[in-house]
């Protein structure tokens, strides 16, 4: 049996959130990934974000494709429905699920093989359509489950574990998400939970296509010297443009920072993002400037992280399609079936 349920027992004094859940209620089964895998840190960050947002776990749907990253939804939010679909096709399944019930929160979990290679098309088109989701790429630059082949996000010139150099140009998922029209774009690092958790929370609150590229080193196949996705490399080259505090409307806002160093943005749902600027001239509302900045800093060998772009007034696919408020999966005969009289009129028009 390769499935290990986590024991439900926990310390009676574990803190609870507003719904009375402990963070244990947001966990899933025991991870079967390698010890030290960056992906497990991301799962933990998702658990923490959902716990702190007081989300009812069953109102979240978690969808994934195939690969190490796509296995992780088993390891968080055990009370949520999950869907481990086919390789590279999570975005279409998530799009369909979202159309059926607009009231749930959709987490799409994917990897660099799943989203940058086989699923590049579906990644692009789900972002283009503005599907209301959090699209997380757990990006390690390598195929883990099949034992160490380069993925399409591996940097040109980087080396695999056997010392072979990657000669293909790399795909930068964040630049693509910006190009395709994502209304929330961020990059983070699995080793920086303080940065990742608020970004996840803000992405969940965002009404539209939120994309998160999380560099997540593969301890088994891509954590060596010569890799640009290793813990050491990312720590050395991580350049955050800002630090984010995520605040729900229920909390009072206290601004006690130097003027010009903090920007406060309110999203559609009323949630407040407090951005502490690190790169002083970085404007998170300027898509084109963000794309230029990423290209420039990327060429200089930096891994730019933080909230990179935000359109707080974004719309989502349901808005574009002008669909009814009520979830489709709750519509009944009276709302869906025109009946026999309409059909007779239809017949009459064909005689």
């Amino acid at each position: 049996m390769t499935y290990i349920a986590k024991p439900k027992l926990h310390h009676p004094k574990l803190p609870t959130n507003k719904l009375g859940f402990t963070h244990r209620d947001y966990e899933g089964a025991v991870s079967t990934l390698c010890a030290g895998c960056g992906h497990d840190s991301i799962s933990a960050a998702i658990v923490q974000a959902c716990f702190e947002l007081d989300l009812p776990p069953h109102r979240i749907a978690k969808l994934s494709g195939i690969g190490c990253s796509s296995k992780t939804p088993t390891y968080f939010l055990g009370a949520s429905h999950g869907f481990n679909s086919v390789h590279g096709r999570m975005p279409s399944v998530l799009t369909g699920a979202n159309l059926a019930n607009r009231d749930l929160i959709y987490l799409g979990v994917s990897g660099d093989g799943d989203s940058a290679s086989i699923g590049l098309g579906q990644f692009a088109h789900s972002i283009r359509r503005g599907v209301n989701m959090v699209y997380i790429v757990e990006n390690n630059g390598v195929y883990g489950l099949t034992k160490g082949q380069f993925s399409a996000t591996a940097d040109k010139g980087s080396k695999n574990k056997r010392g072979v150099m990657n000669t293909d140009s790399s795909i930068d998922m964040v630049s693509m998400a910006l190009q395709f029209g994502a209304s929330f774009v961020a990059r983070s690092f699995s080793g920086d939970k303080d940065q990742l958790v608020p970004l996840l929370k803000a992405a969940i609150a965002h009404d539209g296509a939120a994309f998160l590229d999380v560099i997540s080193p593969c301890v088994a196949f891509n954590n060596h010297l010569g890799s640009t996705k290793s813990f050491d490399f990312v720590r050395e080259h991580n350049e955050a443009v800002n630090r984010l505090d995520f605040i729900t409307t229920r909390e009072p806002i206290r601004v006690d920072y130097q003027p010009g160093t903090v920007e406060v943005v309110t999203q559609h749902d009323g949630s407040v993002l407090r951005l502490r600027k690190v790169a002083a001239d970085y404007d998170v509302h300027n898509r084109i400037a963000a794309m230029n900045y990423l290209q420039e800093r990327g060429a200089a060998g930096e891994v730019v992280t933080g909230l990179l772009y935000l359109d707080a007034e974004a719309h989502d696919l349901h808005g574009y399609l002008n669909t009814v408020e009520k979830p489709f999966n709750e519509l009944g005969e009276a709302e869906l079936i025109p009946g026999s009289e309409s059909l007779e009129r239809f017949n009459q028009s064909l005689r």
């Binding site: 749907a61 086919v86 279409s92 799009t95 369909g96």
Partner: protein, 612 residues
């Protein structure tokens, strides 16, 4: 010189045109006018994969007896395309008629002396009357319809009414069209010998039947079936199904109070995404479908295996065209039977429905959603280009007001709260169908993980052989249950007991029925059985068992339905004789009659003793 063909309300007219010349609407006007005269017609558009400039044909079979399949042969050729002149002239039956534009003289050698030639200087008339090039082209079509009205003794009032209906709202177009119509008619009456030996006479044989395309009917079926999500990728001949769904939705599914839509239609980036969205939506409790054709089915294979194995409802309308590969995109075939029945790698089997006409496209279109939810599996509605893209005369569509959607086995929050045992792949009722829950149903119970990997009865990942076999066996049991749920075959017994039978399905039906009549007239009796679904039920097994020889008529090269019968029911291969038509044109009565009569004759021949 054979005698000119003489027939009233029983002949075939074929129009040879250039596509993009506006002929289609004029030709449809001709077909509809005959319907309005109370005489059944079957019309078929034979068109190229092209927008402008290539040959296109429109075949109208006029049959008071109500034969709606293709007969074969042409009695009157309206030859408007110089590119295809030779083949068009050749296709006319001896004693038949050729109507052509005689503006430019044609060498005698390019005619035939065993047919009646009717020349009319259409271009000359048009050029005299109109100065605008587009008008010259468009009105030429109406002028020849006017001429045909005289040649075939048609009811002018019917045509005039139709023109009025067609241009309703664009009233200033009515008069010029009527004028062109009369110009053609008047010329024919003055210069040609009217009527011909073939003519149309007002009758009362149409009744309350309607005239519509299968794609539109199937889309309306989906709407009545409660579909809310349609994800599709444009591909001939299925695009008009998704477009019809959009049209029907705009009419019937916009919330009057808010102006908001109770539907979502996504034109996806490809067929993989289309079926992915359908599966995602159905997993989450909406009714969802895609419309596609053979190449799309090929692209969807992996996802179809997921839907089979993870047990997610999905409805796929496959409007079949000529394969393999890009094949004949604008021609008809029934050649996706096996790629649908066994779609995807590994051991899979899928439910197929075979509508015979647009009415059944509507009925099966709605039924497919009940079956998909009930069986929690993909359901394929197997149209083809002939049914999908041609207007067919069929019985009116009916809807039972008392009918309710069958959402299948879905455990509710109340069920879970009451403590009902939930195991996603647990066969509690013995029919192989487990219960499912929609995401978000209950705070603590009923959540499960959907996956394409092996799992145990409680949806937990498992690589145990016993769990795998248990699951695969239950899927087989579920497929047995499907046998009792798909529409039963329809028998058409011979007038006298016979050891010969014939199996057929889909768009073959009208030509098949006419062939059965024709064969009977020759003293050849066959019991017919029209298949309406797969898996095959007991009736099919009994039918084959009770006949010595069974013909299987289908429109593909490899006898795919026969293969399915052999593999699923274990019949003796020698007992099932294939009758195959696959040149991309719809099968004809003459082809079937001839093929069956020939084979029976061959079977009756005493075999020669083998020489050693």
């Amino acid at each position: 010189m054979p005698k000119p063909i003489a027939a009233v309300n029983d002949f075939v007219v074929k129009f040879a045109n250039v596509n993009g010349s506006g002929s289609a609407s004029a030709n449809q006007l001709f077909a509809k006018a005959i319907l309005r005269m109370g005489v059944p017609v079957a019309s078929r558009n034979i068109f190229p994969s092209n927008i402008q400039g290539l040959p296109t044909w429109f075949e109208v079979r006029i049959s008071e007896a109500g034969h709606l399949g293709r007969r074969g042969g042409v009695d009157l050729m309206v030859a408007m395309n110089p590119q295809t002149w030779d083949q068009d002239v050749k296709s006319v039956e001896p004693g038949g008629y050729l109507f052509y534009d005689s503006t430019k003289p044609m060498p005698l050698a390019r005619f035939r002396d065993d047919i009646q030639i009717i020349g009319m200087p259409l271009t000359e008339i048009c050029n005299r009357q109109y100065t605008d090039a587009r008008q010259r082209q468009l009105f030429k079509n109406i002028i020849y319809i006017g001429a045909l009205s005289a040649l075939l003794d048609m009811d002018m009032a019917a045509i005039e009414t139709l023109i009025g209906e067609q241009f309703k709202g664009k009233d200033k177009l009515i008069q010029p069209n009527l004028q062109a119509l009369h110009m053609g008619r008047d010329y024919a009456l003055a210069h040609l010998s009217c009527p011909l030996g073939i003519s149309v006479r007002r009758s009362d044989a149409v009744g309350d039947r309607i005239y519509l395309e299968g794609n539109s009917a199937a889309a309306l079926g989906a709407l009545y079936g409660g579909a809310t999500v349609c994800a599709w990728y444009p591909i001939t001949p299925s695009s008009s199904l998704a477009e019809a769904f959009a049209r029907h939705c705009r009419r019937y599914r916009v919330d009057a109070a808010t102006g908001r839509n109770r539907f979502a239609i996504i034109q996806a980036e490809d067929e993989l995404a289309s079926i992915g969205m359908v599966i995602g939506a159905a997993w989450n409790g909406a009714r969802a479908f895609t419309a596609t054709s053979g190449p799309g089915i090929s692209l969807m294979q992996e996802f179809l295996g997921l839907a089979y194995f993870a047990e997610i409802p999905a409805v796929i309308f496959d409007v079949q065209r000529g394969g393999p590969s890009t094949g004949m995109p604008t021609r008809t075939q029934q050649a996706d039977i096996l790629s649908c029945a066994y779609a995807s790698h590994g051991d899979t089997k899928h439910v197929l429905l075979f509508p015979e006409d647009p009415r059944e496209c509507f009925e099966m279109g709605a039924l497919a959603f009940d079956l998909a939810d009930r069986l929690q599996t993909p359901i394929f509605v197997m149209l083809d280009l002939d049914i999908g893209m041609n207007e067919w005369l069929c019985e009116p569509l009916r809807w039972d007001e008392a009918r309710r959607m069958d959402r299948g086995k879905v455990m509710t929050a109340a069920d879970l709260e009451a403590g009902k045992e939930f195991g996603r792949y647990l066969d509690v009722d013995g029919d192989g169908i487990p219960y499912r829950t929609y995401p978000g149903t209950h705070p603590a119970r009923g959540a499960f993980f959907t996956r394409g990997t092996t799992k145990n009865r409680h949806a937990r990942y498992s690589e145990e052989g016993a769990d795998y076999v248990d699951n695969m066996q239950r899927l087989l049991k579920k497929f047995d249950t499907a046998k009792t749920l798909v529409p039963k075959p329809v028998a058409r017994p011979a007038k006298q007991p016979t050891g010969h039978g014939v199996l057929y399905f889909g768009s073959t039906t009208p030509a098949m029925h006419e062939a059965l009549d024709a064969l009977e007239a020759q003293g050849i009796h066959l019991d017919g059985l029209r298949l309406r679904g797969f898996p095959f039920g007991q009736e099919v097994l009994d039918f084959v068992a009770s006949h010595e020889q069974v013909f299987v008529v289908e429109q593909n090269r490899d006898a795919q339905l026969r293969t399915l019968l052999l593999s699923e029911a274990g019949f003796d291969a020698a007992k099932l004789t294939p009758v195959l038509h696959y040149d991309g044109t719809p099968i004809t009565e003459r082809f079937i009659s001839h093929a069956i009569a020939e084979r029976l004759r061959a079977l009756n021949v005493t075999p020669l003793r083998k020489t050693i």
